[in-house]
Symmetry: C2
Subunit: 572 residues, 2 copies
């Protein structure tokens, strides 16, 4: 896709086949939807204050309503608003049972789904059986089964789940029922996690939003008129809403960070090869120019660390997936603010940030500086080249695999599916020689950023996660802020700032009227902003560190949210 | 290449241009050869007992002659027959100077070159200046400059060297003079190494032999009628001959292990991403389906370990090359024989081993078992698929890059250049989608081998490095035994067994006459074997461990050569 010709470069003939879809596939989809409906156990559902459409049009905040209307019991609130890093201790000491814990989260998860449409599969009854098993184990052995004993974890649907349909939002895969868990799911289960929900994601897994032919869009837990992001869309909704203790997403262009930023939680895109993506559906199988990564989403940085540390050090993913490196998770102490040097990218040179992002970044930097952090300005390094290259990498098989997966069912294409199929040169198939040239560009970019960080003694790059706060449904076009760190493969934390869009403050300044757009994408993105429509949307940024130094990013993230005084367990 | 149609699938038109080559390039090559000639300082040269051609025809052993004819002084023998791991201590204590050390190795290196044609560039005078600088540093500071202070290290020419022609055996690159060292060269220099020789390699870097248009073939230091292997050809010769303390090679299909096995030294092909290949000439730039790796060659396993440990832990390659993982080198104790479980691959199912290899493996296994090692038979897992896939990966850009590098000068193509250009589907350019399918096959193979090792509690796979001992010049066709471990990316040590081909023992057994070849490649390889022609060729095997567990491979290698009672410093 060039900035000037998007939505025009791919040829979509041969993808859709309405007749075949309706005849052969839609009945399966309808059955699937019914199963989801059946998973909404009546003892956990809430009565909604109005129809979702009405609530969405009013910018309703379901998370605030959860507290205001006291939709959970006091105990349920207490459990679901305890960080996972504390829950594991309570479970290990026997102060909480796994059943008690799951019931609380399941209640909140089901309400989350009622409001945000976050789940593709709900199987609380199975989860309760597993929780009971863990409680029995605990009673028998006097100790937890593993370091995540009894922690309710939500899973992006894309990951293989033993004996359950796993479709990755491709209708053609609704007939796919894996005989075993994907590696990451298996490791988490080995560590003691409890599963009860698999979450929504967009068709092709290549939107920063969530539309698909299964259940459609997921909604923002802070504002039902906005998107929860994508492609780990349901994870954004459910984790932001507090319906799971930790969520698992995956990210090839922003798919953990965008939903985390939009939906009011934190999320880590780890460096590649630390977390397994083995076993699951993907349109990018065998693509290693810019590999997808899996990673955690949560409401505290400590929870992300708990997940990473136990997953790596106890889960030993390299024993189950040859792709993973036996690089142990190191305990890195939380740095003092004065130990940190952070380079801030206020603008990536491609797409201008909207008022809440510009204000949020300014306020965040002011707080960091006041706390003693050394902040310098980061002048973007070849972001246009990075953008063009990574977008070509996504599509350089000429969308061969996507076409195969989509055309098998003839399902209708979502708006943003067409958008992402137009990336790079769309349907143009690259030769291997051309792909190798892209890899050489990528490696030179990676080296340039590595050199920048080391030569300038800069610890981290702080940047917007997206040029805007959570977008309106199906109005997120620009990946430049997130995909930059995919092509660079830098571990990147999206953290919440505790700031929210404020229509009274977040209006374009006077200069905007005479601003000359640098490209059509920028114009399109800026045109979607309207102060009133985004009231209360969370503001989250990215912190990127050196490749494979995920530990330092997490440690600094703790310092930063402490400086910003962010507490996502106590918002309303 | 299929076994049935090799040497026929590529189109070689457009590569060669004799007129252009002779007019524009040959004069440069001749100047280069003269520079090499000028580097043979007269105070270090020896008088040869006959012409090289005559010696080669007699199967002359120059290493034995070195001792028999006392071509070095006693002190020079003592220094050059001390392991690098001990030299560093002597240098650090001031018991040896860097100048003294280099002079001894330079003398042996130059004699090595006279016999084996191992060097592309010799710059002993520069090396002596560097050594003097190190001695001055030591005097001034009372300590070594780094953990490899004063160690003479030979370098495969392919790696960028500051201000020196770096051509990778492509004539078109004879005009390439890098402004800085490649990363690995730079790290070794930072650690205190002394450079004085850059060594030979084949055209395209894709032969397990050494022919090129610069200086032609390198010879085996144990038998001048045989090949020293390739593509780290000159490293095989010089390290086997003792002309450098440690050599640096690189390996994408066997290029460290073949020359180590043939030329009578040890060599490690590390797991990818631990050692940098950044900065150098390669026809595979941007190719990451089966990446090349750099690694050490030496005369003791301890020396390989010294190189790996200091390179990684002190050199921190991840700070200079984004490709490298910050995975520290772990100190792994030498295992007891009884702690080891080794699966032996006697035959890979593709190409039958010649009598010395079959006998050598049998004798080696007997000694290991006698020492208490648990030995089981390894039944090859999908070796044909691995062979086909990795060979397609080498050429799947349709040899685009090779064609570009070769046709720029129009240089004549060597026999084995045509052979390797015929790999996979030769000149057929693959699409990205096809490349991705190869990657998926590769990953499933890697997983299968990983699962095999873990599920069966097998520590290592022991296998031939090649179906034969060192081949006759330009008669090495089969890569199956080595390239298997490239596609699997398993760290693989080639170690010497202390055994040598023996014409009285190593004849085909009776059954061979009625043996039905499984494919044309096997027939071709077996046809080159003739007991008398290989007298005294070293026998070296491979030990492969789990991906990224290079430390365990090295540790077990120490145990094994101890069991086999191998001492390469004391052979004649």
């Amino acid at each position: 896709m060039s900035f000037e010709s998007f939505l025009t470069t791919d040829d979509f003939s041969g993808y859709e086949d309405p007749e075949k879809y309706k005849r052969d596939w839609l009945p399966k989809v309808e059955k699937y939807r019914q199963d989801l409906e059946d998973g909404l156990l009546s003892e956990y559902t809430a009565e909604l204050p109005a129809s979702i459409d009405v609530l969405a049009s009013k910018g309703f905040n379901p998370l605030k309503y959860l507290y205001d209307a006291k939709l959970l019991t006091e105990e349920e609130f207490k459990i679901t608003d305890t960080p996972a890093s504390e829950l594991v201790e309570k479970l290990a000491k026997g102060e909480l049972t796994a059943v008690q814990t799951l019931k609380a989260f399941a209640h909140r998860a089901i309400i989350s789904h009622q409001f945000t449409n976050c789940a593709l599969q709900l199987f609380v009854t199975e989860g309760l059986e597993r929780a009971q098993y863990l409680d029995d184990y605990y009673k028998e052995h006097g100790k937890p089964i593993g370091p995540l004993h009894g922690i309710p974890i939500s899973l992006k649907e894309q990951m293989d789940y033993k004996d359950k349909i796993t479709h990755g939002s491709y209708v053609s895969k609704i007939i796919n029922i894996p005989g075993k868990h994907g590696v990451t799911t298996q490791i988490l289960e080995n560590l003691g996690a409890v599963f009860y929900v698999r979450t929504n994601q967009p068709q092709t897994l290549m939107h920063l939003d969530s539309n698909n032919n299964f259940i459609g869009l997921s909604k923002n837990p802070f504002h039902l008129g906005l998107s929860s992001g994508g492609s780990s869309s349901g994870e954004g909704s459910i984790v932001g809403f507090g319906g799971s203790a930790i969520g698992v997403g995956s990210d090839i262009g922003g798919s953990i960070r965008a939903p985390a930023a939009y939906s009011g939680c934190h999320g880590l895109r780890p460096t590649t090869r630390r977390i397994s993506t083995n076993g699951g559906i993907s349109g990018g199988a065998g693509q290693e120019s810019v590999p997808a990564v899996a990673g955690p989403m949560g409401r505290s940085i400590e929870d992300l660390e708990l997940w990473m540390k136990t997953y790596i050090n106890d889960g030993k993913p390299w024993e189950l997936d040859q792709w993973c490196i036996p690089l142990a998770w190191r305990d890195v102490p939380k740095p003092k603010p004065t130990d940190l040097t952070i380079a801030v990218m206020y603008d990536d040179g491609l797409v201008k940030t909207t008022p809440p992002i510009a204000r949020g970044l300014k306020e965040t930097v002011a707080k960091l500086e006041a706390a003693g952090v050394k902040v310098i300005t980061f002048e973007p390094i070849k972001t246009k080249l990075a953008y063009d290259t990574v977008h070509k990498m996504y599509a350089c098989d000429g969308n061969y695999k996507q076409r195969e997966l989509l055309s098998a069912s003839g399902e209708p294409l979502a708006k943003l599916t067409k958008w992402s199929l137009s990336y790079g040169d769309g349907a143009k198939s690259y030769s291997v020689a051309e792909n190798r040239k892209l890899n050489i560009i990528r490696d030179s970019l990676r080296q340039e950023y590595t050199d920048y960080l080391i030569d300038n003694k800069v610890d981290f790059i702080l940047s917007p996660t997206y040029n805007n706060v959570a977008p309106k449904p199906e109005q997120v076009y620009n990946w430049s802020y997130t995909s930059l760190f995919n092509i660079l493969d830098l571990p990147t934390l999206t953290f919440q700032t505790g700031l929210f869009q404020d229509p009274t403050k977040d209006v374009w300044d006077e200069s905007h009227a005479s601003y000359t757009y640098r490209n059509e994408l920028e114009k399109l993105e800026c045109s979607t902003y309207d102060p009133e429509a985004f009231a209360g949307a969370p503001i989250g940024f990215q912190l990127s560190g050196r490749r494979y130094f995920d530990e330092e990013v997490i440690a600094a993230g703790k310092t930063i949210v402490e400086i910003l005084d962010v507490n996502l367990f106590n918002l309303f």
